[in-house]
C-alpha cells in the first residue's frame, strides 16, 4: 500500500533548472513534470505510448514521458515545450508551426515540437519520408498532418539559412 512504499531520491535537470525530489517509484515522468513541477505543456493522450502528446527530450532523445518512470530520469537532462522559447522569443520550430498553421487545438503540439527538435538536431535537411518517420509516434487528430509536414520543412529551411 502507498504509505509503505519507500520514496526514492531523484535529481534531474528540467529546462536548465535542477530539481531534487523524493518520489514514489511508480510516478511517471509525465506526472512528475505536470503535477510536481506544474509544467502542464506536456500532455497525456493515450497512456500506451502511441500518441506522443507526452513527448519530451531526455538526454537529447525524444521519449514518451508516459512510459518512463520519473526515477528512471535520475541524473537526466529533460527539455519540455516550456524550455523551447528563449527570452520570451519563440524557438524557430515554434514559429514555423505557427506560420504554417501546423496546429489547431494545440493538444498534440508540444510533443510534435519536441519530436521535430530531435529530428532537426541530427538531420538538417530531412526528406519527406524522414519527417513522416520522425513524427510517426505523434498523433494529431485535427490537422491531417499536411500543415505539420510544411511546418517541419519550413523549420528546417529557416535553420539552414541562419
Amino acid at each position: 500500500m502507498p504509505e509503505n512504499i519507500e520514496k526514492i531520491s531523484v535529481k534531474l535537470n528540467v529546462n536548465g533548472k535542477t530539481y531534487v525530489r523524493n518520489l514514489e517509484p511508480r510516478l511517471l515522468l509525465v506526472e512528475f513534470l505536470r503535477e510536481e513541477l506544474d509544467l502542464t505543456g506536456t500532455h497525456v493522450g493515450c497512456d500506451t505510448t502511441y500518441c506522443g502528446a507526452c513527448t519530451v527530450l531526455m538526454n537529447g532523445a525524444a521519449v514518451k514521458s508516459c512510459t518512463v518512470f520519473a526515477v528512471q530520469a535520475d541524473g537526466a537532462e529533460i527539455l519540455t515545450v516550456e524550455g523551447l522559447e528563449k527570452d520570451g522569443q519563440l524557438h524557430p520550430i515554434q514559429k514555423a508551426f505557427g506560420d504554417s498553421y501546423g496546429l489547431q487545438c494545440g493538444y498534440c503540439t508540444p510533443g510534435l515540437l519536441i519530436s521535430t527538435y530531435e529530428l532537426l538536431s541530427h538531420n538538417k535537411q530531412p526528406s519527406d519520408k524522414q519527417i513522416r518517420k520522425a513524427i510517426a509516434g505523434n498523433t494529431c487528430r485535427c490537422t491531417g498532418y499536411q500543415n505539420i509536414f510544411k511546418a517541419i520543412q519550413l523549420a528546417a529551411q529557416n535553420r539552414t539559412r541562419t
Binding site: D47, Y101, Y107, P110
Partner: protein
C-alpha cells in the same frame, strides 16, 4: 492616407490572418481542463463493468473505503434517491438513464461505482478494491438481432426499439413501375468509429455547500445542452450551475455527451463535503465508454432508374444502432434527413428508419453525425448502380447531380439547399488529380493484373440546424430554430473585448471573430480581445450555444457581427454628441492615440478610451437621453426557421450546405491485400471563406478522419461484448506514416443566409469514406466485388477476394432490366 472610414470594407474577412490562439499553444501555455488544480482538490476514479450485459448482485466498497487516503465512494443505489433519471429526448421513453448502472450493466465499461481519494494514484488503488458481483446476461451485439427483443436491455421499456418512422415523399411505386432498370441491394453497413479527440474527457466539479452552487471546469463542447440535462437530473436550478471551458483538445462532437460524468463528479463533490473533485478519463475509458459514432445497417434497398441511368426513386430500410443508452438520440433518426437526397436530383423515396439499443458504448454526435451514414449509403447506391449499368462513375454523377442553376434547391422533404456547384467541383477535382492520365494508368495496370481503382465521393456538410427537427422524432419536444449570442464592448479603458458563446477546439474562433469586428470598427484585429470558451456567467449564451454542427461561421460570426454593429452605432451616437457633429459625419479610424472616432468637418476626434471613460466613470457629462448607451452590446442572432411539419416530416432543417468532392486512386496489393492510396484530391465549397488557411486546415483534418475511418479505425466488439479496440494501439488512429499527401482545391458559392456569404464547415461530410469505398469497388468490381461496408482493410479485402465471404456482388445485388 485615404482611410475608408465608417463603411464596412472587407479588409480582414477573407484574409489569411495568423491565428490569435497560436502564441499560448506553441509555448505550452494553453489552459486545458487537466491543467487546472484547485485547493483541496480530490480525485475520482470510476469502477467499470467488465461485462456487456449483466445484473449487479452486490457492490462492496468497504475495502476501498478502508484504504488510507480515500475520501468516499459512490454507487448507483446511492444516487437514485437524490436525482432524477436524465431527460430522454425520445417520445414517451421509458428508458431510465443514470450516470451509474443501478441494477444492471448494459455495456462493457459502464460505470458502476466511483471512488474519491486524496490523490489520483490512491483513487486508482482504491478502485481496484471495490468488489462487484455480477450475474451475466445474454449480450445483444447486432442491431437487427436486437430488434427481435429476445434479450431486452431496458426491461422498463419492454423493447430494444428506440424509434421508428417512415420518411416517404412522392409517388414511389409509380417510378418503379415506369423504371427502365431496378437495382436491388440486399445489405450495406456503416461501421462504428469515433474521432477520438486527443484530449480525453476531463471534469472538475465543486458542489459548494456554502452557496449551494455547482462549479464546473471541464471540456464539454455543448455546455448549454449539458446544463439543461444536469439541472433536471440533479434537481438544481439551472442558474446555480456554472460551467466554464477553456482550451479544449479536440471534441469532434464526442465531448457533447460527457454530462453523465459531470453529474457523478458533482455528486461526489457533495459527498466529499464540497471539495472540488477532478476526473480525468484514461484513453481506454474513452474508447470503451465515452461515445462512438452511430452504426447503421441499410436493408432491402431498391433503386428505380430511367434508361439514361437517372435515379428516379429509392426505397430502403435503415436500422441505426445507438448503443446502450439513447442520450443524444433519437435525434440522429431525423438529422440524416437534412441531406435526404444527398447531392442528387431524385424526388421520390421511402426510407423506413428504426433505431435500437445494443450492448455497446452509447453513441454521441461524431463529426458528420448521422448525415455521413446516409450520404455514404447514397454514394454506394450511385456507384453500385453505375457499375451494374456500365456507366462511368463521373458520368453517373453528372447525370444525377442537382444542377448549379437549380439553387436554391428544395429537397423532397422541404430542406432548402442554399447554393452549390457539384459539376464544377467534379471538374476541378478531375483536373487536380489528372483524371485522364490516371484512367490510362489504371487500364495499363489492369493488363498487368494490378488492382487499381479510382473513386469519387460527393458529400454535404449541412450546418446551423433547425432544432425544430427534434419535433419530427418527438412532437412534444420543446425545441425549434437556432440562435447564438455574442457580446462586444469597450471596456473601461477603451479596449475592444468580444465574448462568444462557443467553445472552440482548434477552429480558430478567436481569430475569425476578431476579423469580423476589425472590419466593422476599421481597426486591426490585434487590437481586439476575443474571449472564447464557454462561461455561463458571461451571459452571452443561448440554449444552443457550444461548438458543434458546422455553424460558427454562420451563427457565431453573425452574432459577433450583430454585436459589433450595435456597439458601432452606440459609439457613433456618443461621439457625435461629444464632437458636436452629425452622426453621419463621424468616421472610424486609428489616430495618434489609438483607435478613434473623428468628425469629418472639424477634424476633432475622441479615442476609444475617451468614449469608454464617459460611459463608465465620467457619466455626469452624459445627457439623460444618452443613458441607454452602455458600450456593452449583447446581440442574439436567430436563424430564420419555421417549425417543420411533423406529420409529413417536411420543412427546412438546416441553413447552409457546404459541399465536398474527393477523388482517390487506390491500389489493393495482390499478395497482402493492403490498400494503398496512390493519389488523393479534396475539393471544398463552404461559400465565402473567412480565413483561407483555417478552412484548408479543417478540410485536411476532416479528410484524415475520413481516411482513418475508412481504412484503419473501427470500434470492434467480440460476440460477447468485449471491446477489442480499447487502446490506441488496437484502434490505430491515422498517423503521419499512413496519411497520404492531399491535393486541395476549393470553389466558393456564397450562401445567401449569412451576412458574409460563409457556410458552416469543418465536419467534412465524411467524404473520404464514400470516396475510398468507391475506389475500392472500382478496383475490384471486375472480380465480382461490391463494397458493402464502410470499413475496409487488408483482412476484409482478403475475405472478399479470396474467402468470398463478403462483398459478393452476385449475392448482394440484383439488376432487373425492364423492356422499354
Amino acid at each position: 492616407m485615404a482611410n475608408k472610414f465608417g463603411g464596412e470594407e472587407k479588409k480582414w474577412v477573407g484574409k489569411a490572418l495568423p491565428r490569435k490562439e497560436e502564441d499560448r499553444l506553441l509555448r505550452g501555455r494553453g489552459r486545458f481542463a487537466d491543467d487546472i488544480k484547485l485547493r483541496d482538490m480530490a480525485y475520482l476514479r470510476f469502477v467499470r463493468s467488465p461485462y456487456a450485459h449483466a445484473r449487479i448482485i452486490s457492490i462492496d466498497t468497504s475495502a476501498a473505503e478502508a484504504l488510507a487516503g480515500v475520501v468516499c465512494t459512490l454507487t448507483g443505489k446511492e444516487i437514485v434517491p437524490q436525482t432524477q433519471p436524465f431527460i430522454e429526448i425520445g417520445p414517451d421513453s421509458k428508458v431510465r438513464d443514470y450516470p451509474f448502472a443501478v441494477s444492471k450493466v448494459r455495456y462493457q465499461g459502464e460505470p458502476v461505482a466511483a471512488v474519491v481519494a486524496e490523490s489520483a494514484s490512491i483513487a486508482d488503488d482504491a478502485a481496484e478494491l471495490v468488489r462487484v458481483e455480477y450475474e451475466a446476461l445474454e449480450p445483444v451485439m447486432d442491431a437487427e438481432q436486437a430488434l427481435q427483443d429476445n434479450s431486452i436491455l431496458h426491461e422498463e421499456a419492454g423493447t430494444n426499439k428506440i424509434w421508428h418512422g417512415v420518411f416517404e415523399y412522392g409517388d414511389v411505386e409509380k417510378d418503379f413501375q415506369d423504371a427502365a432498370f431496378v437495382v436491388r441491394i440486399d445489405r450495406l453497413h456503416f461501421h462504428r468509429f469515433s474521432s477520438t479527440p486527443l484530449e480525453n474527457n476531463v471534469v472538475i466539479g465543486e458542489w459548494n455547500l456554502k452557496d449551494d452552487r455547482i462549479y464546473y471546469s471541464c471540456n464539454n463542447s455543448f455546455p448549454s445542452f449539458a446544463i439543461q440535462f444536469l439541472s433536471a437530473h440533479l434537481n438544481v436550478h439551472i442558474d446555480r450551475i456554472r460551467v466554464q471551458t477553456s482550451d479544449i483538445g479536440g471534441s469532434f462532437g464526442i465531448k457533447i455527451t460527457n454530462y453523465p460524468q459531470m453529474a457523478v463528479v458533482a455528486l461526489a463533490s457533495k459527498k466529499a463535503g464540497g471539495r472540488p473533485v477532478k476526473w480525468v478519463e484514461t484513453r481506454s475509458e474513452h474508447m470503451t465508454s465515452s461515445a462512438h459514432g452511430n452504426e447503421r445497417t441499410f436493408r432491402d434497398t431498391r433503386v428505380a432508374l430511367d434508361k439514361n441511368g437517372l435515379i428516379t426513386a429509392i426505397t430502403s430500410r435503415h436500422i441505426d444502432d445507438c448503443g446502450a443508452y439513447p442520450r443524444y438520440e433519437p435525434l440522429g433518426c431525423v438529422i440524416w434527413s437534412q441531406v435526404f437526397p444527398g447531392v442528387y436530383r431524385f424526388k421520390n423515396a421511402r426510407i423506413d428508419f428504426t433505431q435500437t439499443v445494443t450492448n455497446k458504448c452509447p453513441v454521441g454526435p461524431n463529426r458528420g453525425y448521422s448525415r455521413m451514414q446516409h450520404l455514404w449509403f447514397l454514394e454506394r447506391v450511385i456507384d453500385i448502380c453505375a457499375h451494374e449499368l456500365g456507366i462511368p462513375a463521373d458520368e453517373m454523377r453528372m447525370r444525377n447531380y442537382i444542377r448549379p442553376e437549380e439553387f436554391p434547391y428544395t429537397t423532397p422533404n422541404g430542406c432548402v439547399y442554399d447554393s452549390g456547384n457539384y459539376p464544377g467541383m467534379l471538374e476541378l477535382a478531375k483536373q487536380l488529380i489528372g483524371w485522364d492520365a490516371w484512367k490510362k494508368k489504371q487500364a495499363e495496370a489492369q493488363k498487368q493484373g494490378r488492382l487499381i481503382g479510382i473513386g469519387i465521393g460527393t458529400t454535404l456538410d449541412s450546418g446551423t440546424n433547425n432544432f425544430g427537427q427534434s419535433q419530427i422524432v418527438n412532437p412534444g419536444a420543446p425545441f425549434s430554430g437556432n440562435s447564438q449570442g455574442a457580446n462586444c464592448k469597450l471596456d473601461i479603458y477603451g479596449e475592444v473585448v468580444v465574448a462568444v458563446g462557443s467553445c472552440p477546439q482548434g477552429q480558430g474562433h478567436e481569430t475569425t471573430a476578431a476579423q469580423v469586428v476589425a472590419d466593422v470598427l476599421n481597426i486591426s484585429p490585434d487590437l481586439i480581445t476575443v474571449r472564447t470558451g464557454f462561461d455561463t456567467e458571461r451571459n452571452v449564451h443561448t440554449g444552443f450555444s457550444g461548438t458543434y454542427a458546422s455553424q460558427f461561421a454562420v451563427s457565431g460570426l453573425s452574432a459577433v457581427h450583430g454585436a459589433a454593429q450595435k456597439l458601432k452605432t452606440e459609439m457613433k451616437r456618443l461621439a457625435a454628441f461629444v464632437l458636436e457633429s452629425e452622426e453621419d459625419d463621424v468616421e472610424f479610424g486609428v489616430g495618434a492615440q489609438g483607435p478613434e472616432l473623428r468628425a469629418k468637418r472639424t477634424g476633432k476626434s475622441i479615442n476609444y478610451w475617451g468614449l469608454a471613460n464617459i460611459v463608465n466613470v465620467n457619466s455626469a457629462v452624459l445627457p439623460v437621453e444618452m443613458y441607454d448607451i452602455t458600450l456593452n452590446c449583447r446581440y442574439i442572432w436567430r436563424a430564420p426557421f419555421k417549425v417543420p411539419d411533423k406529420q409529413r416530416k417536411y420543412g427546412n432543417l438546416t441553413l447552409t450546405y457546404a459541399s465536398q468532392l474527393h477523388i482517390a486512386v487506390i491500389e489493393v496489393d495482390r499478395e497482402t491485400f493492403i490498400p494503398t492510396i496512390l493519389d488523393y484530391v479534396a475539393v471544398d465549397d463552404c461559400g465565402t471563406v473567412i480565413n483561407p488557411p483555417i478552412v484548408e486546415g479543417q478540410v485536411y483534418g476532416a479528410t484524415a478522419h475520413g481516411i482513418g475511418a475508412a481504412l484503419l479505425e473501427n470500434c470492434a466488439y467480440d460476440a460477447v461484448g468485449n471491446m477489442l479496440t480499447s487502446t490506441f494501439s488496437d484502434y490505430t488512429p491515422i498517423t503521419a506514416l499512413n496519411m497520404p499527401k492531399i491535393k486541395y482545391g476549393h470553389i466558393q458559392t456564397p450562401s445567401p443566409h449569412s451576412y458574409s456569404g460563409a457556410k458552416g464547415m469543418g465536419e467534412g461530410g465524411a467524404a473520404p469514406i464514400h470516396t475510398i469505398s468507391a475506389a475500392l469497388q472500382d478496383a475490384l468490381f471486375s472480380n465480382g466485388i461490391i463494397i458493402e461496408d464502410s470499413f475496409n482493410n487488408a483482412d476484409s479485402l482478403f475475405r472478399a477476394l479470396v474467402g468470398k465471404e463478403i462483398c459478393q456482388a452476385e449475392r448482394l445485388v440484383k439488376l432487373e432490366r425492364r423492356a422499354s
